[in-house]
């Protein structure tokens, strides 16, 4: 655990000196604030962060792969992976450490939405439960997305490829079940409805704490972390 946190710390600090991370953070900040002031922070609108959270979820499909793409790809490219994998740390510690690091940076970016929230508290009376569940949903969804990105990064030494692969997997996870539900029928449609991450996320945004959502998003996260560890291990054998 200690080793995991050492790697997480190094990864998190790495983001704060990385220009790309600032660009992604700024993009996130600009989009969320534009949405907030353009659509929510208007006379007569409900004091709810929900529309903001939902648009942020879609923004994350594009933004988070840009954060995760360098995690392991960069180590392959620069060769530092060799030093990491000959140090007394397990592959799982490397993967989980990097995951915790990027989740940390994601939380820091997410924390910037506390400013619009503050304004809303000053000028209106948002429902506390709704807001808290919205953040819980965003964090769970974000973790799953980051795990997918980490996996994509473990497969290749090219950051761009990692970002595209992650974006493709996330798009499939986010948009495919909805499409299957809309156009398909029978068992496929029912299955798709069960595994639709966005439905569960929208429930969170509506203030509903659904354990099925927690389990599904947690499982996706765990699955992709597991795949990352296995991918990293398999790199040794090639």
């Amino acid at each position: 655990m200690r080793k995991t946190l050492i790697i997480a710390r190094r990864e998190l600090l790495g983001y704060f000196v990385s220009p790309l991370a600032y660009v992604v953070g700024a993009m996130f900040l600009a989009a969320s604030n534009f949405w907030f002031f353009h659509r929510i922070f208007l006379p007569g609108q409900a004091a709810s962060m929900r529309p903001l959270f939902e648009s942020m979820a879609y923004l994350m499909v594009v933004a988070l792969p840009l954060l995760t793409m360098r995690l392991i790809s960069e180590e392959y490219r620069s060769g530092t992976i060799e030093l990491l994998m000959t140090a007394p740390v397990t592959d799982a510690q490397v993967v989980i450490g990097k995951f915790i690091g990027v989740v940390g940076f994601f939380l820091a970016v997410l924390a910037t939405t506390l400013v619009p929230l503050m304004l809303m508290v000053v000028f209106g009376r948002p429902d506390a439960g709704l807001v808290i569940m919205g953040y819980v949903g965003l964090i769970l969804l974000g973790s799953a997305f980051l795990a997918v990105g980490l996996f994509a990064s473990a497969t290749t030494e090219y950051q761009l490829v990692a970002a595209i692969v992650a974006g493709a997997i996330l798009s499939a996870l986010v948009f495919l079940p909805g499409a299957v539900v809309a156009y398909g029928h029978g068992p496929w449609s029912r299955l798709a409805a069960r595994v639709n991450l966005m439905t569960y996320f929208k429930d969170f945004a509506r203030g509903i704490f659904d354990t099925r959502g927690v389990i599904l998003l947690g499982t996706v996260t765990a699955l992709f972390l597991f795949l990352s560890v296995k991918t990293l291990e398999s790199k040794r054998w090639r």
Binding site: K3, I6, I7, R10, G14, V17, S18, S78, G79, T80, I81, E82, L83, M85, T86, A87, P88, V89, T90, R236, W237
Partner: protein, 323 residues
């Protein structure tokens, strides 16, 4: 300390290491010598638990590199070829991070980093510890790599091409450091330059085309591979045959060959391993009044042998290529 048994490594369909075995005892400084592509780095990567072997066993301190990977890694300090470093970190920051990964407790980390930085000339004469790693020159990267290896002070040091890219002064300093480290560490260093390892290492393992060509101490190898030393003398004052016969009669001389060099006769004198017939030849020349213009001991060098190995490897590879 290190035991390699029948180690074989295939990269896909390319055979990189072909059934090699060797041992390194505690406290030895072993030079791993071979031309480019001989399988040096691959062997070292297997030894340091980075790559798994296709066949054979490797153990460090009695621990198997596959079964007890983490325990082996704790005992080894590894400096890879070309020293990969994360560019965005600063020297001190990086060394502190590596110290943490290498199980150095927080309370001792600072002191360990200071000590390693000083030992590798990173803090003196010029303080480089605040520089960004991607701004360092080749020589300094090498030093950071070495400092990183020395941080936890592991009993086994594995250095892949530690001297490549250094200037002559740095090579000498590195050589001195390795020699100093050899006193209380087991060191394996690889190189494709013979002169580098000949002076630093107590033992040599010469590898070519994935196989071991020769092992032993530099002196042993020299004797076995190149033969005992020879003496070259140039004399005149008598017929070549006569001169050769006179010298051949001296103590400790086993064979004399002669050749003409203008008016002079050039004698190539071979003797026993430890013999040195120089003073006897000089005495003979003085006694008979033969003018003597050259008398030197031709110390056998491994260089020619090594060049031959390199050459053989390229031929074997050329033969293998079309297959």
């Amino acid at each position: 300390m290190i035991e390699v048994r029948n180690l074989t490594k295939w990269y896909g369909r390319v055979l990189a290491v072909d059934n090699i075995s060797f041992e390194v005892a505690v406290g030895q400084v072993v030079g791993f010598l071979g031309p480019n592509g001989a399988g040096k780095s691959t062997t070292l990567k297997i030894l340091t638990c980075y790559l798994p072997a296709t066949g054979g066993r490797v153990s460090v301190d009695g621990l198997d590199v596959l079964a007890d990977s983490l325990a082996v890694r704790r005992r080894i300090g590894y400096m890879p070829e070309r020293v990969p470093l994360p560019g965005e970190m600063r020297v001190r920051e990086y060394l502190t991070y590596r110290a943490a990964l290498r199980d150095i407790p927080v309370s001792r980390r600072r002191a360990a980093v200071d000590r390693a930085a000083e030992r590798c000339w990173l803090s003196t004469p010029e303080d480089m510890t605040r520089r960004r790693l991607d701004q360092l020159s080749r020589g300094y990267r090498q030093r950071v790599g070495l400092a990183e290896v020395l941080l936890p002070d592991p009993p086994v040091l594995v250095l892949d091409e530690p001297m490549i890219g250094l200037d002559p002064a740095q090579i000498r300093a590195m050589r001195e450091l390795v020699t100093a480290l050899g006193a209380d560490h087991t060191v394996i260093l690889s190189s494709h330059i013979l002169a580098e390892v000949e002076q630093t290492c107590s033992h040599l393992v010469i590898i070519a085309g994935g196989r071991i060509a020769a092992t032993g101490t530099p002196a042993e190898l020299r004797r076995r591979v190149v033969g005992p030393s020879r003496i070259i003398a140039e004399l005149k004052g008598a017929e070549p045959d006569e001169l050769a016969a006179a010298v051949a009669a001296l103590d400790g001389v086993s064979d004399v060959q002669h050749a003409r060099a203008g008016k002079w006769t050039r004698l190539t004198i071979s003797g026993d391993d430890e013999s040195d017939a120089r003073s006897a030849v000089a005495a003979l020349a003085a006694e008979k009044g033969y003018p003597l213009r050259e008398l030197r001991r031709d110390v056998a060098s491994l260089e020619e042998f090594f060049v031959q190995i390199t050459y053989d490897q390229s031929i074997t590879q050329a033969r293998r290529e079309p297959a």
